[in-house]
Amino acid sequence: MTLAIQSAGLSKRFGRQVAVDAVDLAVPRGSVYGFLGPNGSGKTTTIRMLLGLITPSAGGHQLLCEPMPDRAAAVLPRVGALVEGPAFHPYLSGRDNLRRLDAADRTAHARTAEARISTALERVGLSAAAAKRYRNYSLGMKQRLAIAAALLVPRELLILDEPTNGLDPQGTREVRSLVAELAAEGATVLLSTHLLAEVEQVCTHVGVMHRGKLVAQEPLAQLRSSAAPRARVLTDQPEAAARALTALGLTEVTRTAAEASGGLGSIAPEKVVAGLVQEGVPVRGFAVVAPSLEEKFVSLTGEGFDVSG
């Protein structure tokens, strides 16, 4: 499996504060990698290092199998980026701003510039506002223009920092489907976000940042399956219930005053109910509960995520 982004021990310290602490990113080619973490967890600082905007205090990384920042001139034209929100010249129109960025790219063809700019604007739904000054754009339009800038030429890797920030629900849906579209065309996408729902909807892989550290990194499906379902029994004899559950082969059996529960593993829930009845345990209620991804992340980071949106 080749990696689109690979970092080893990537660290950044500002004075005495460690913003990013020995991050080993492994973003497989073709994946949509959700770079998830609460605000201030070091995601943007990591992205700045990935793009060569700031120098790591320790460690290093490769983009598209090229060492950075040594090969930045060769590799960055193949990388589209949105870093810490949109930023353009306020007194230029959206189209003129894209013209400027395209003119700065020595690998882009001047001949095809206008056509490419129009296509990029169309893709983000900004064609109608292309001639308006950036100053008069709404936050959502600014965000769309920044995404258009990342799409001026076909990219192998897109690094998108909070791309749905400031968008209305409709815009959010559009951007998420655009990300899926780009991935389907073969691009690798690193999508930084603080929204768990966004990761669940569009990502194939996930890396969780917490206080500058990468605390988890795996395919989303694997993370889901590791969130094992548990059987929960409501009863007035929790002790007997716990014994029965253990006898049935459930793992990590726990009990409280009014219930007992255990990890189901591959045991069918109906067999557990039958077993309990056989043992004469009075069952008042029975449920199979799977911890949500959110609970999983809370257990990883000890903090909640903003799951709205």
Partner: protein, 283 residues
């Protein structure tokens, strides 16, 4: 391993430079600034037309005010001399202060670097934009001065500082060389400004710093007790442009000015590069 993709082909192209010049040209603030530079000769000429000329020599420069009523040509020279003390340095300070700090302040710097634009290339293009302004500004003042001067006072042969007369055509040629010399002087100020602009994310801070530096340099140049310092001052040789109005032209007298400007440009461009090449861009 997937097959190694060929690195994209880099082309030598003037697109980014043209984009930079366009960015400077379409900016309303720069247009207004240029209009203000062009307005000064008009104010000057009209004031002299309606009032008797002030015959006191002010500042260290040649006294062109006295000759204005005789020949409109001197409006251009008087305006250049007057604007050189403050207006022209402010114009360059606006442009140079904005160069890197302005992009950093707006956040556009991170997107340019991610394109990628190499940091050395970015400084080169930014300095080219400053040079454009440094040479354009004196020309605009001169042309504006010529226009209003000829309208109000008429033209004719130009009497030089050495007393001899040359044709109006040769006068124009000398005026052009004066503008080029002042362009070099302002380019030196611009190099200092570019360096200041790499130190901050506040463009106005860099602009004010450079303006204060040029004013301080002019003030220190008037203090006799500091004569040991005078040869090193940024503005020391700026008023030397009058040497181009002698017959024969003493190009040698411009040597120190050009040498000083060259040294300033070399030192401060190097400093700007040293500062910016490895700087963390966190804006």
């Amino acid at each position: 391993m997937s097959p190694v993709e060929a690195a994209p082909v880099k082309r030598v192209s003037g697109r980014f430079l043209r984009s930079e010049l366009r960015l400077i040209a379409v900016r309303r603030r720069n247009q207004v600034g240029l209009a203000a530079l062009a307005a000064v000769p008009f104010v000057l000429a009209i004031a002299i037309k309606v009032a008797a000329p002030d015959r006191d020599n002010r500042g260290g420069g040649p006294d062109f005010f006295a000759q204005i009523t005789g020949n409109g040509f001197f409006v251009a020279l008087a305006a250049l001399g007057a604007e050189l003390t403050l207006f022209l340095p402010i114009a360059i300070a606006m442009l140079a202060g904005d160069a890197v700090a302005g992009e950093a302040n707006q956040g556009t710097l991170r997107y340019l670097l991610a394109v990628p634009v190499g940091r050395t290339r970015l400084l080169a293009v930014k300095y080219a934009g400053i040079l454009f302004g440094a040479f354009l500004a004196p020309l605009v003042v001169a042309v504006s001065g010529l226009v209003i001067g000829l309208i109000l006072f008429g033209g004719g042969d130009v009497t030089l500082l050495s007393g001899t007369s040359v044709s109006f055509g040769e006068g124009l040629l000398r005026l052009l060389v004066i503008c080029l010399y002042l362009g070099v002087c302002l380019a030196a100020a611009g190099a200092v400004g570019l360096f200041l602009s790499t130190l901050t994310e506040q463009p106005m801070g860099a602009t004010i710093a450079l303006t204060m530096l040029t004013v301080a340099s002019a003030v220190l140049g008037q203090v006799q007790q500091l004569d040991w310092l005078h040869p090193y001052l940024l503005t020391r040789h700026w008023q030397d442009f009058g040497e181009l109005l002698r017959d024969p032209v003493s190009f040698g007298a411009l040597g120190p000015g050009l040498l000083s400007a060259g040294a300033y440009i070399l030192i401060f461009l190097t400093a700007a590069w040293a500062r910016f090449a490895g700087k963390d861009v966190t804006a």
